[in-house]
């Protein structure tokens, strides 16, 4: 049988150690309940609570995830709160009502916490499941937000971790480290009203079918950093290792309504982080900006990875490896007011119905494809190299187009389809320009380029194809006027087919074949 301990308001000793355990960690029993809300840790430097068994609950009400567990009725005395739950179906509800506790550490899993830094075990037999932890630090006006270090770890499967940090009138000023090792875990991190510069939130998941949800609300006017993935965990002893890269994490989403902040997502091969594999996807959503967001994808040799970005008003960078597929935009028009950098190594980039009002830079190496469909383009640069690759905007750049530059380099067969469908509402205001280059230093691979001009603005095109392989060029100007200067040079044949000026207006076409 488990035990139920009801804390009463009292002044604790200099150190509190509560053991609410079954017979042994290896054979947990059930039903240990630690109930708040009246724990007063004033004057206590260290509070440590260990629960082992099944169905342990630490909360104010005794219910799973219920209400709050109160820490420290006075300001600033408690230096460390450590709660460890070992076993399955444990739950924790924690609120730091009045605490400026230095450290809050929560461990859910089979391993014992070791030292102040804690660690995650790698022994699969010790991974326990179905734990839940809800941690609130300064989430409402009744809570203090002064914790400097929150460390929440869960090891096992189907665990749920939810943190609510700060509020509009009171920022959480500490550091969050949230680690999950196992499969089917859910991490939900909400940051509100962050105004303190340089704050770092580290969220890491390794295993499979994990879900991550990041939400930052409010204008982070002085800057905030969210690091998620496996690379920049603050505690080196707790970093997931390469062996933890099992992938298949499920839907991960990031909803960002703040501004002036930096989000770094790292998905690397050397460190597990979050691997978005198979048909799973990772979503990023921002409502206000400017923000800086950077995501590094894992180098896992999987295809079909997706990163979906919606309503993005910030500077953004995505780096993909190992065949990652990056999809931007969707059914709703995506707007990118800041600068965008997207890189895929051997993977694909798809942009759908997206407006780019800053510089946008797309690149692939070692093959890969880039597909662009719809949207405004202010200053776009596309660079592709290595194995066979392709760029296609077959369905057009349907908004205004200011500048578009596409460069393909590689010895294998490359293809490029560019469709200028610029249709701004200020005809004549924008003058779309396209600089399109296909080169190959070696090899006999050819280049194919097919161009369409369907816009309502006067456009200019500079086209260069060179290299040892055969080259083909097609250009169709259906509406608007187009000035195109094209050169084809190289050892092998070069041909231009399908050069059409239908109902052309004030156009010129200059082609040099050498």
């Amino acid at each position: 049988m488990g035990q139920k301990i009801q804390f009463k308001a009292s002044v604790m000793a200099a150190a509190i150690s509560v053991m609410a355990a079954g017979p042994a960690l290896a054979t947990p029993t059930e039903g240990n309940i630690l109930v708040g809300p009246d724990l007063d840790t004033s004057g206590v430097s260290t509070v440590k609570i260990d629960q082992s068994g099944t169905g342990n609950i630490t909360s104010s009400s005794g219910a799973a995830n219920g209400a709050a567990f109160i820490v420290d009725q006075s300001a600033g005395a408690t230096t460390a709160l450590t709660i460890q739950q070992v076993g399955t179906t444990n739950s924790l509800g924690l609120r730091s009502y009045t605490s400026d506790v230095t450290k809050v550490q929560v461990f859910q899993g089979a391993d014992a916490e070791t030292g102040s830094t804690g660690k995650l075990g790698t022994d699969a037999t010790k991974l326990v499941n179905s734990n839940s932890a809800v941690v609130q630090i300064g989430a409402d006006a009744t809570q203090r937000a002064g914790a400097t270090d929150v460390f929440l770890t869960q090891q096992g499967d189907n665990n749920v971790a939810a943190t609510f940090l700060g509020r509009a009138t009171g920022a959480f000023t500490g550091t969050l480290n949230l680690l999950q090792v196992g499969n089917g875990n859910l991490a939900d991190v909400v940051v509100n009203g962050q105004t303190t510069a340089g704050q770092t939130f580290n969220i890491g998941q390794s295993g499979g079918n994990n879900a991550l949800s990041l939400t930052a609300n409010g204008d982070q006017s002085t800057g905030m950093t969210l690091d998620f993935g496996g690379l920049t965990f603050g505690r080196t002893t707790s970093l997931p290792g390469a062996s933890d890269t099992s992938g298949n994490n499920n839907v991960s989403s990031y909803t960002y309504s703040g501004a002036n902040s930096t989000l770094n997502g790292y998905f690397t091969g050397s460190l597990a982080g979050i691997n978005v594999l198979g048909t799973d996807e990772f979503k990023i959503k921002t409502l206000y900006g400017p923000n800086n967001i950077q995501v590094d994808l894992a180098s896992a040799a999987a295809t079909g990875n997706k990163i979906d970005v919606t309503n993005f008003w910030s500077n953004f960078a995505i780096y993909g490896k190992g065949g990652a597929a990056i999809n931007l935009g969707g059914s709703g028009r995506l707007s990118v007011d800041g600068d965008l950098v997207v890189y895929a190594n051997g993977g694909s980039i798809s942009v759908n119905n997206t407006n780019f009002y800053g510089r946008s830079d797309f690149s692939t190496a070692d093959g890969g494809s880039i597909t662009y469909n719809g949207g405004d383009v202010f200053e776009m640069s596309v660079s592709q190299s290595g194995a066979a690759h392709s760029f296609s905007s077959t369905n057009g750049m349907s908004g205004f187009v200011e500048s578009s530059k596409v460069t393909q380099t590689g010895p294998i067969v490359n293809s490029m389809v560019v469709n200028n469908s610029s249709a701004d509402n200020y005809s004549g205001f924008y003058t779309p320009s396209f600089t399109l280059t296909q080169t190959s230093e070696t090899g006999g691979g050819g280049h194919a380029m097919t161009l369409y001009n369907n816009g309502n603005d006067s456009s200019s095109w500079t086209v260069a194809q060179s290299g040892a392989g055969a080259k083909t060029l097609g250009f169709t100007s259906n509406t608007g006027s187009a000035v195109i200067n094209a050169t084809q040079t190289g050892l092998a044949s070069q041909s231009a087919t399908g050069i059409n000026f239908a109902a052309a207006s004030g156009s010129s076409f200059t082609l040099a074949q050498r």
């Binding site: 190299s385 230093e441 060179s466 399908g498 050069i499 000026f501 109902a503 050498r514």
Partner: protein, 317 residues
């Protein structure tokens, strides 16, 4: 934006080496399909092909179609190789004041070098005649072949072929429109040595100014009226065959009178024994080194009479 990923694309050098090598070996250049259709404002097309070039195909020639007053300008320069023929076909219909400039030359741009250049211009059809076209054709090299078929009026053509005795060039002009100008006194149609010129003119008020090189053959079939021919020969041995019908046509010949390249004879038709140029209603006159023949049969003369009159030989003074 100061992102600093660990794995960024290294800038790839452009294919400078390939470009350099390309200058050593000629590549095959083709432009198979070019259509400019009904522009609402002027359209300019410039094509340069170096190497074995090919522009257009017989089944799908380069096509310029202007249904409005907006002119189309097509300029093509082909610097060809020695073994692969270049081919140009252009087609215009219904346009006003389109400009077509075709320049074909050998790889080293040396007149008379061995080359095979071939150009065919289809200027309008009966259903969609071309009008006011400005055509310039320059072929430098032997074995050049050019064909111009014109349906339309007010064409102005400048045609120059350079060749020498190592090859035979030919120029065929078939014009059914009116008021077309093929060459002018100041810029005549110029053919190289051993060239063959064939003109078939069925329209009226056309003018031809032709300068033949040595050992060239010219054949003119005229079915229209009030056409003007100004023909100059440069070397002995040129032959000229005329088949004339219609009325009011005028011929002016400019023959060399000095040196060893004096003009020898004009085969006026195919008759073994040419009739006098004064027979029928053709009048040949000479002044200085220039002789000219005037068709005075402005009314009432049959084609047979004209054909008989065409069997003439003209010898300079």
């Amino acid at each position: 934006m100061n992102f600093s990923p660990s794995s960024r694309l290294a800038p790839s050098a452009l294919a400078a080496a390939a470009l350099s090598a390309a200058s050593l070996v000629w590549a095959q250049s083709t432009l198979d399909h070019l259509v400019v259709q009904a522009p609402s404002a002027p359209v300019t097309v410039q094509i340069t092909q170096e190497g074995a070039g090919k522009l257009g195909a017989s089944v799908e020639p380069i096509t310029l179609v202007s249904a409005s007053s907006a002119p189309i300008s097509l300029t093509v320069q082909q610097i060809g190789a020695f073994t692969v023929a270049s081919q140009i076909k252009a087609y215009t219909a219904g346009a006003t004041a389109n400009t077509i400039t075709l320049k074909q030359e050998t790889a080293d741009a040396t007149p008379g070098a061995v080359n095979d250049v071939w150009a065919k211009l289809l200027l309008g059809t009966q259903a969609a005649p071309a009008a006011s076209q400005h055509v310039t054709l320059l072929q430098i090299g032997d074995k050049a072949q050019a064909t111009i078929e014109s349906e339309g009026d007010n064409l102005a053509a400048t045609i120059i072929q350079h060749g020498n005795s190592s090859g035979v060039s030919s120029l065929n002009i078939a014009s059914n429109g009116a008021s077309n100008t093929y060459g002018s006194a100041g810029a005549p149609i110029t053919l190289g040595a051993l060239s063959t010129l064939a003109i078939s003119s069925a329209g009226d008020n056309n003018s031809y100014a032709i300068s033949l090189a040595g050992d060239s053959t010219a054949g003119i079939t005229n079915a229209g009226s009030f056409n003007t021919y100004n023909i100059a020969t440069q070397l002995a041995g040129d032959s000229l065959a005329l088949a004339i019908s219609g009325s009011g046509n005028a011929f002016t010949f400019d023959f060399p009178t000095t040196g060893t390249s004096q003009y020898k004879a004009v085969a006026w038709g195919s008759a073994a024994t040419p009739a006098s140029v004064t027979s029928g209603n053709f009048v040949a006159q000479c002044g200085g080194s220039t002789c000219w023949v005037t068709d005075t049969s402005s009314n009432g003369y049959t084609a047979a009479n004209l054909a008989a009159a065409a069997n003439a030989s003209v010898t300079p003074r």
